[in-house]
Symmetry: D2
Subunit: 336 residues, 4 copies
Amino acid sequence: MIRVAIIGASGYTGAESIEFLLRHSEAQLTYLTALPEECGAVGDVFGRFKGRCNLQIEPLDFDKLSKLADVALCCLPHKVSMGFVPKLLDAGVKVIDFSADYRLKDVVVYENFYGVKHTDTANISRAVFGLPELFRERIVGADLVANPGCYPTGAVLAIAPLLKADLVETDSIIVNAVTGISGAGRNPSAKFHYPNMNENIFAYSIGTHRHMPEIEQIASDVAGKNVTVLFQPHAGPFDRGILSTVYCKPKGKVTDEQLLTLYKDFYAAEPFVQICSESPNAKDVAGTNYCHVFVACVKGLIVCFSAIDNLVKGASGQAIQNMNIIFALDETLGLK
Amino acid sequence: MIRVAIIGASGYTGAESIEFLLRHSEAQLTYLTALPEECGAVGDVFGRFKGRCNLQIEPLDFDKLSKLADVALCCLPHKVSMGFVPKLLDAGVKVIDFSADYRLKDVVVYENFYGVKHTDTANISRAVFGLPELFRERIVGADLVANPGCYPTGAVLAIAPLLKADLVETDSIIVNAVTGISGAGRNPSAKFHYPNMNENIFAYSIGTHRHMPEIEQIASDVAGKNVTVLFQPHAGPFDRGILSTVYCKPKGKVTDEQLLTLYKDFYAAEPFVQICSESPNAKDVAGTNYCHVFVACVKGLIVCFSAIDNLVKGASGQAIQNMNIIFALDETLGLK
Amino acid sequence: MIRVAIIGASGYTGAESIEFLLRHSEAQLTYLTALPEECGAVGDVFGRFKGRCNLQIEPLDFDKLSKLADVALCCLPHKVSMGFVPKLLDAGVKVIDFSADYRLKDVVVYENFYGVKHTDTANISRAVFGLPELFRERIVGADLVANPGCYPTGAVLAIAPLLKADLVETDSIIVNAVTGISGAGRNPSAKFHYPNMNENIFAYSIGTHRHMPEIEQIASDVAGKNVTVLFQPHAGPFDRGILSTVYCKPKGKVTDEQLLTLYKDFYAAEPFVQICSESPNAKDVAGTNYCHVFVACVKGLIVCFSAIDNLVKGASGQAIQNMNIIFALDETLGLK
Amino acid sequence: MIRVAIIGASGYTGAESIEFLLRHSEAQLTYLTALPEECGAVGDVFGRFKGRCNLQIEPLDFDKLSKLADVALCCLPHKVSMGFVPKLLDAGVKVIDFSADYRLKDVVVYENFYGVKHTDTANISRAVFGLPELFRERIVGADLVANPGCYPTGAVLAIAPLLKADLVETDSIIVNAVTGISGAGRNPSAKFHYPNMNENIFAYSIGTHRHMPEIEQIASDVAGKNVTVLFQPHAGPFDRGILSTVYCKPKGKVTDEQLLTLYKDFYAAEPFVQICSESPNAKDVAGTNYCHVFVACVKGLIVCFSAIDNLVKGASGQAIQNMNIIFALDETLGLK
């Protein structure tokens, strides 16, 4: 039985990780931590766990952690995480980090987009990027996994077969995506106050979203050459889900049937990626670790669609998938 | 042309008042005020007014007010309002006050439920309670109107015909109501953070809601004797509307037909109260000043249903209805 | 491994049953049936099961059923179910029936409320009412379980401790409840067309809802005497959940603390009932088999609140709980 | 006072037209028609009009129409409209047609996309395209106005300044849009059944949407040369609004400031188009005839955003704007 700690258990990704670990037959939650003001019985912090989980969320104690856990899901915010991860590793636990702090391999890009100096550059190269469908072999046995961002997960799964097959121009990809509001985290704000967000939809972070360089990095890794991406996110009035619509320019002639075959073959062995015969529905993947994908030729372009749950395949579910791989368990444990 | 100021124009009831006054043929917005940190062009404070209203929201200046306005809609919070109303009256403007500060005639009850000492008791008796369907004659020419609470408006309109006709026991009325979230105001909070409130419904203020004594006061006024009410509010995942379901014990035998006739007669001359032939829908009254009512005998009780828009008939629309009455205009101006 | 069939797998309760059975370690889905026009791969009928369940939904063949299943979850509509249940039993499978056809012990009441002649009266007395928290001992080893209605589950769990302790008058209980729209089933209709239902809330089935006699029957069973209930349902703009607010008249003096103790003791051994310290939230129980309960004294009455997920504790989850009990498994298997 | 008939008053655009005409000081609703099975008092057909409009919706009688109305808003579906419009014109009334039947100037394109033979080709050239911001001078005094589609209105207003100024390539424009569900009309369907659509978002009509050639036609008209557009619509969980995100390739270097100036100048005299300083919010234009626009340079492309209410600026509001222009009234009457 793998013993799992959650660092930063008081946020939405912490809660979602608890939810899935409660169903996991080979892993056991042993230690939950948060800032002192957010501690308490887990059933008090999140009403949905009343009677389902009797742990306390406590302030982090590294000694306790090192005794209680084999692996820590580190659900801390960007910039905060890099202050904790080295100590978590020192405590002898493996770390799956939900923040962006170890995702971007180029420190300069990180520092530009996140506006701070990186304080743990030593571990950046140690970290493997935890998108199993593309980099599974790197994850096996890893000490430190950088769990991907929600948008990059959806966007890159939508286009990876095209990039790998070198079918599209790599300088004109447009990712248009709409996320549910759980992606904005648990802190109240004017934008996401119910009467403001309900019945609303808007674009944000125009030209500046931090997931843009992350998408480019993974896409480039898959393509084996430099890929640039225009990424435009939107926020829509629903809890969970990211629907990505990706526009690519094909290098040559290609048919819908060829694309479908390419995608089915590419993901044939993947338990969590399903190729649809029409546009995916965000609701079909809500609460699951699945990514639904569709692709079609439209007016000279290739348009790719993907749907994921931002909190599951885009965060906690993917972290558990990574955990399963690290520990050589059946990758789908707790997630089917 | 009546010149109208809005004091506290940066909240939801301020915005809704602006919306309806823009459509009013005999009234003109002349002055909008708010706390300094909430000031600015009205189209910047509320995107919906871009190009529709070119006023600035400014810090309140009583001299300016006295020169610019005949009447002030005072959209300040409870407890704050009573610090401003005497000065607004001193500035020579009539006041329609949206807060609870002048609604409760019994200062002790006010001080118990609102937890502060009342600082302007002199004006409590001067204030008339602005529910036109029940107290129209008192409103004509008034200087200070206490605009009713949203819940009391819906609840009392649902049962007034029964109380007036002395058809029900006055010691066992239960008001069960569900409100949309605009009723919680514009300040973000954890409860009303979109991912918390969406897909949720809950009861609140159990046994303690401040509208309970207000409902009792108006109901008693209508009945001509002491009425006690158990009022239980709930918050539901929608923007606008209050659906009230009121359970009353009849004194004697009564039929659905008799009730229907009673209600149709009682409200025959009322432009804004409509008697339905089945349960009202909150959505049918959203954005309007209407109250839809239905009543039926069920298992020995009389059950009354009403639907209003909490921001319109429950606040800004009713205020404008009161304004029209004060100034002897057609009561429906700007509201049809 | 218990082999489970679902009869009527193409509706929402069918889908929800599949969802929970996929997570069940001691039960296995073996056979899914529906009307011919609703058959197909389960991942095509419900996109959420793509890649998660490879069964086909097929037209019902009783021979096949008798070979493939130990128990059938019968998710057919009222009135239809009683045409199938005798044959399912004849096929040698145990039946957990989701319809109302075997819930009401009094055939006359059934025929009045459902408007048809009951065609399988022989099995009514054979059926046990599947509300484990109240009738667990009757369920063990049963052949035919009448799975409770969603509203009765929420309403009766909210007041059972009061009835059992004989603390409240049994002729004046009012159940006011709001349900999410999944309760209306999968067939499109004008009322539940998205642009009509979104941002709406309304009461329905005023004085006539079919769950009223069911609530009365169970409440009377628990109380050991005749209980009458005024039940008023409402439909609100959310997917899942029933929030019940129940008003009862106490027989004598009682305090909040006494009530809390009574409830905590009554449900102390129950895994799926949690006593809250304030109003329950529908969202906290969404997707779970839990019932959250709160109780308080308000103005001379006792007000009880409960929240359940109508599709889980109100249908499919409770069915699996019953299945676990029938087969002497850990009652929480697949449901924690 | 202009006398207005609504043909097909029982749908959402009929209702929305009634709503705005009730507020119009120079126009008067005189005649409402629908299919016989959808007739009745307007307050019964749409609960929101109880007490606000006392007209009956009746089966269409052309004689009656010719006596009662100066102009007819023809809110019939595509393909149906062209069977009625010639007779409406024969009856001596001006027609503002909401369908696509007179929008596309190329009959072959119409017949391809709508799958029927056009039966009133004679009137196609007579019809003017009713997008006032671009073709105002053609609308003055017109007999037959083809009211634009909702998507084309939002999309073309977003890019018209670029096209007019010849700043972008005209063979690579991508319009990605999300609509609220009122756009799907009033007939219930599985896709838009509340529990299916709520919390969902999906793409549809991939490569085949009928508004694609309409967008291309108007864009070409504005640009003065052939423009091709990839248009991809999505449906999101809200009532009203279309958010369009348009990606264009600039011909040369351009700055955000230049774009902002271009847009402000282009729409300087337009009452209903507002240039925002960040992404527009669909909620800000809900219930209004406004179009909010924002534009920015992102990674070598120009990205344009627009928000409209699909039922207002995308249908009924624009129709009334057209009516005001036809009759030489202040264009904003009833719409401010």
